[in-house]
Amino acid sequence: MSSKRHSILPPVSQSGPKPPVHFSSSITIADSALLIGTNLIVIHSESVIHPRAKLDSLAGRITVGRRCIVHERATLGAVGTSGKITEAAVTLGDYVTVEVGASIEAGETVIGEGTVVGVGARVGAGAVVGKHCTLTPHTEIAAGEVVPDFTVVYSNGMRRTDKRGVAELKNKGQARQIDVLRRMIPSNPAKFA
């Protein structure tokens, strides 16, 4: 993979303070990812941060678990309506996927292991999404809401339980995808250190 895609968009403006970070050595983080804020940003092993993903630790610590994928223009730690500062703004468990343009608001928000936050979905401040949930595209989870494990939120807030029992398989698939992404996305963790 020698050919590198060049973006036609203007370079991301690195405004505001540079946050303290704690990266595992095995992560993949794109050069144009946007890390801002004043609190610690922790990214655990083998996670992938796509270009233009935004991690904002202004309202508290951001923690990304192992083998997570944060896609383009996804936002972790968006300062919500409350605007209050907590110790942990956003915590992603292991194997979490935050899809393109999704937004997770700050305020002790927790996304459980293996959960997929769909394209353009929005998770409100303080919501606790359980393990292996699927939030379909453009789902909105209200602030403070608790979503039980294996819940599928679809079609404007309808809910059902995922009974496929494929959590293990999904995790394996995630690991394979990360292998591919690693070769596709030039990583530059040094920029944020």
């Binding site: 699927t134 379909t136 599928v152 679809y154 079609s155 309808m158 809910r159 059902r160 995922d162 009974k163 496929r164 293990e168 398989l169 394996k172």
Partner: protein, 615 residues
């Protein structure tokens, strides 16, 4: 309140009540009153909902020179196909297999998303795999239908497939829970099997002694088969109970003759045997499950228990139940699925490509390409390429002194009551001949809150839709002078006749104010094949107190929408075709029998201008 963008709907002439024969009374919903010719089309009349179409929905018959709407075309099916796999389905297959895709195309019963066949991999435990099946290929084993949107899987209803293809056939044999549906032959064989007999007796015994305990649960198909064979045996049996009421036998419910008559209707006469006719007497009814007797299971405690645990969210919605297709392997009426956990995959409903014909002359006016994958049409005579299109735009007059400058310049803004508002109507000529357009609109719109309407220039010509380059090459100066002369002449002639812009004092005042912009009979703007004219409306006040309305003091739905009925007559001359309509047009216009023929098309349309502010 939702903003309203201006719209134009055209009334297809097929719905003209004057062509439907007897004219209805003055209070009829068609809004016809008095002389049919003077009748103003009322867009609010209940019938109007069924005859108004946007221009894009209309077709045009080139032979009848008439608009054709979806109501007045006759359709023929070109091909049937599955919208999922895009395979064509021959009509013979439709007759035998039904109108669903019989390949592997299914919709999710929960969210109607498309289902994909995926292999249900056994637990990724290598030890287990080796123990059970070590010859398995990476993608083998049972398969399931899964929805990638809501994550539903057919394993939730206990359905797995052995092969990844011809799912439809496999599904037909599977009941929910994975038990196979037996064919009639298999069922017979099973019944002979003594071990099954004892087993069945044991299970029914344990269920509790409601009714005769030996009864077997029958599904629809089995019950039908049992009943059918039972009645056939009854008909053939000469010793069936003879009551001796010979005179009534032909009418009685239980008489073999009436039964054989009914059965012959459904089965096509195969049962019409002479023996039955000669015999009299009643038959007995089915008494056991082998004969097709199914005792209704009225014990719903299981369903009630399930409802208590799953709650309302666990039940299927009406739409979800309607999507379910009858399943012959299903239990009879009682105990039919009502829970989400019992819904089965929905085979895709087939679609059809249709061609459309003119109902009068039978010419094809729309014919799609027969190949499924192409979306092109072989023939498609859309009305938009024959009749002028009409675009509406609010017009705000720049002169500050004018009272007519209103807030309607922003599209979708509310119209101020009692304030004159102007709209620009742009007619665009799609044909290659110059057309003459004559507009007619009532001075007051029908309804409880009449708006005053003035079409400032109800008669004008639009140049042909010529090549853009032709126009550029022409001497534009010469042309423009010619136009100006023509315009003046028409305006002079028009102010005498004043058909629509009459007796409106307010309008006259207004014109004096904004003299340089608005002149009666003057075209606002003109282009290569288009003309813009101005319509002035004075919206009514929606005060209910002073209205002498019949419907009481409540504003009805959409009564605040300002809609203007407008009669459009288009005349043009074209190369002759020599059919009836053209002849008729010639006759009315004085019968000049030249090579070029006069044509005329007239129709009502409705201009939706906007909502009026409620006071």
């Amino acid at each position: 309140m939702a903003a309203l963008t201006p719209y134009t709907y055209i009334q297809c002439p097929c719905s003209d009540s004057s062509t439907l024969g007897r004219s209805s009374g003055p209070n009829s919903p068609t809004g016809s009153e008095g002389d049919e010719d003077d009748r103003t089309f009322d867009p609010r009349a209940p019938r109007s909902n069924y005859s108004l179409y946007p221009l894009e929905y209309l077709l045009y018959c080139e032979d009848c020179h008439q608009i054709r709407c979806p109501r007045c075309v006759s359709e023929e099916i070109v091909t049937y196909y599955c919208p999922n796999c895009l395979f064509e389905v021959p009509s013979s297959t439709i007759k035998s297999e039904g109108n669903r895709c019989t390949r592997s195309c299914f919709q999710c019963p929960i969210c109607i998303g498309p289902l994909a066949v995926t292999s249900v991999e056994t637990k990724p435990d290598p030890g287990l795999l080796a123990a059970t099946d070590n010859t398995a290929a990476p993608h083998s084993g049972p398969y399931a239908l899964t929805c990638s949107y809501c994550n539903w899987s057919s394993t939730e209803v206990g359905i797995k497939f052995d092969k990844p293809n011809s799912i439809h056939a496999q599904l037909a044999k599977l009941r929910n829970g994975g038990t196979t549906r037996l064919t009639a032959k298999e069922r017979k064989e099973r019944r002979k099997d003594p071990s099954y007999r004892s087993q069945a007796a044991a299970t029914t015994g344990s269920e509790g002694g409601a009714g005769p305990g030996k009864e077997e649960k029958l599904d629809l198909e089995t019950q039908f088969a049992n009943l059918k064979s039972f009645y056939q045996r009854q008909l053939a049996d000469p010793n069936s109970a003879d009551t001796g009421l010979a005179s009534l036998s032909d009418l009685g419910f239980s008489s073999p003759t009436s039964l054989s008559r009914i059965m012959s209707i459904y089965t096509g006469g195969s049962l019409q045997d002479k023996k039955a006719k000669s015999r009299v007497g009643a038959m007995r009814e089915a008494l056991e499950s082998d004969e097709g007797l199914q005792i209704a299971d009225l014990d719903e405690s299981a369903a009630i228990d399930k409802l208590q645990t799953d709650g309302h969210d666990g039940t299927a919605s009406t739409a979800q139940l309607l999507d379910q297709i009858p399943n012959l392997g299903e239990a009879h009426l009682h105990g039919r699925s009502r829970f989400l956990s019992e819904l089965r995959p929905i085979p895709y409903l087939l679609r059809a490509k249709r061609s459309k014909r003119c109902p009068v002359c039978r010419h094809i006016i729309s014919k799609p390409e027969a190949k499924i994958q192409t979306t092109r049409f072989r023939i498609r005579l859309v009305a938009g390429s024959y009749i002028p299109s009409l675009a509406i735009r609010p017009l705000s007059l720049s002169s500050a002194s004018s009272t007519s400058s209103s807030g309607a310049s922003v599209p979708g803004a509310l119209l101020e009551p009692l304030k004159p508002t102007h709209f620009l109507l742009t007619f665009r000529n799609p044909i290659f001949d110059t057309i003459k357009v004559t507009l007619g609109a009532p001075a007051k719109t029908p309804g409880r809150f009449p708006s005053k309407v003035t079409v400032l220039c109800p008669e004008f010509e639009i140049d042909a839709n010529t090549d853009v380059w032709d126009e550029a090459l022409k001497d534009s100066g010469e042309r423009e002078r010619e136009r100006e002369r023509e315009r003046r002449a028409r305006r002079g002639g028009f102010e005498e006749s004043t058909t629509t812009s009459s007796s409106n004092n307010h309008n006259n005042n207004n014109n004096n104010n904004a003299q340089n912009q608005l002149e009666v009979g003057k075209i606002w703007e003109r282009g290569r094949n288009w003309v813009s004219i101005v319509v002035e409306v004075v919206p009514p006040s929606l005060k209910l107190g002073d209205s002498t309305g019949d419907g009481g003091g409540v504003l009805r739905e959409d009564e605040d929408v300002l809609e203007i009925p407008m009669f459009v007559r288009v005349e043009w001359e074209s190369e002759g075709g020599g059919d009836e309509v053209a002849v008729a047009a010639r006759d009315t216009s004085g019968g000049s029998k030249e090579a070029r023929e006069k044509r005329e098309l007239a129709y009502w349309c409705v201009l939706g201008l906007g909502r009026i502010r409620r006071s």
